[in-house]
Symmetry: C2
Subunit: 192 residues, 2 copies
Amino acid sequence: MATGNGRAVTERPLRADARRNHERLVAAAREAFAEAGPEASLNEIARRAGVGPGTLYRHFPTRQALLSAVLQDRIRTLCGHAERLMAADAPYEALTEWLGAFLVHARVNQGLGSALMIEELDGMGADCHRRIRDAAAGLLGRAQESGAARPDLSSEDLLQLVVGIALATARNDDDPEQPDRLLGVVLDAVRG
Amino acid sequence: MATGNGRAVTERPLRADARRNHERLVAAAREAFAEAGPEASLNEIARRAGVGPGTLYRHFPTRQALLSAVLQDRIRTLCGHAERLMAADAPYEALTEWLGAFLVHARVNQGLGSALMIEELDGMGADCHRRIRDAAAGLLGRAQESGAARPDLSSEDLLQLVVGIALATARNDDDPEQPDRLLGVVLDAVRG
DNA sequence: TAGAATACGGAGAACCTCTCCACTTGGCTA
DNA sequence: TAGCCAAGTGGAGAGGTTCTCCGTATTCTA
């Protein structure tokens, strides 16, 4: 079985300098993506991390891989949040709260999470994708069992709708209430 | 008052060669965007049109401007569709039909229409934006007056939701039913 | 038809992504 | 502790992109 980050358990651990560079790259990427969005220059990220472009590309062969790495923390947080909510009393409220958090998450990264969501994913990215999907499926399933959410709605579709809201409102700063309002509309439909 | 395409009425008409190049560029861009999506190389478009890059940039200072120009036809069609539907008997059905057409339009262009929708627009682009918004406002307004749509929903929000669906599903070919399904969910919420 | 205004186009500057490979370094082994 | 070598580095550079500038060519007007 492969570990979560796509590295087989039998492989050697990274050399110390490689691990250090990996961390630096993620830190630099976090900053750069926050400032310039998911299109930030990879060259610039390598420069900030104090490594050459070649090193960046060995650690992260694609932009997606780097995006995934930056998101892992947030995704872990989001999944933890979902697990806590799974134990809560009110399934519907748990679902709405989590979707709200998910929306914030997707928007905070300037469409970064969403870009990750819709792309064909492999390796580490696919794992992120799956964990989020599982979280959504769990919460929606519980709400449906309790009768608070319509049964003819898949968690994939619901997630995709929220991703859509994030994408559509990602660059729109002059109506900060809009994302929540749109989520409200979708939630009205979820209640059935 | 400026005309719709951003050119003041008092300005001279374009010189014959300029008009010809303009048309060639739009035609080349239409092809290129259809093939390669909205990220198609502008250099390549200029080459196809048989003009230099400088000429492309004089006619269309930004990628957005070129996207707008390519979309004008479709947008005109879409607005004509809306006008016809405004005269129909069933306001709610008119709204749903038009939103369906809008979604197809946004998706057919590989996110091109949507990209146009969410960006801060100027000139010709802003005009496109406005015409679409007016069409949506008219159809939703009529549905609301007839009591078929909830009154606490703005046409901007509704459009943004559909744009979101287009964006979120733009690259997802392996579930061709999804866009319509998601639109269905949103429409359930519109009915209130 | 000639002059002025308009538009062209391509060379080139400044970026970008991504690859290759000579060199450096960390960790193991004797 | 010394030395070896696999693992890792980094930057030059190929080939792409966007966008600008300005000498040249074309169109319009008088």
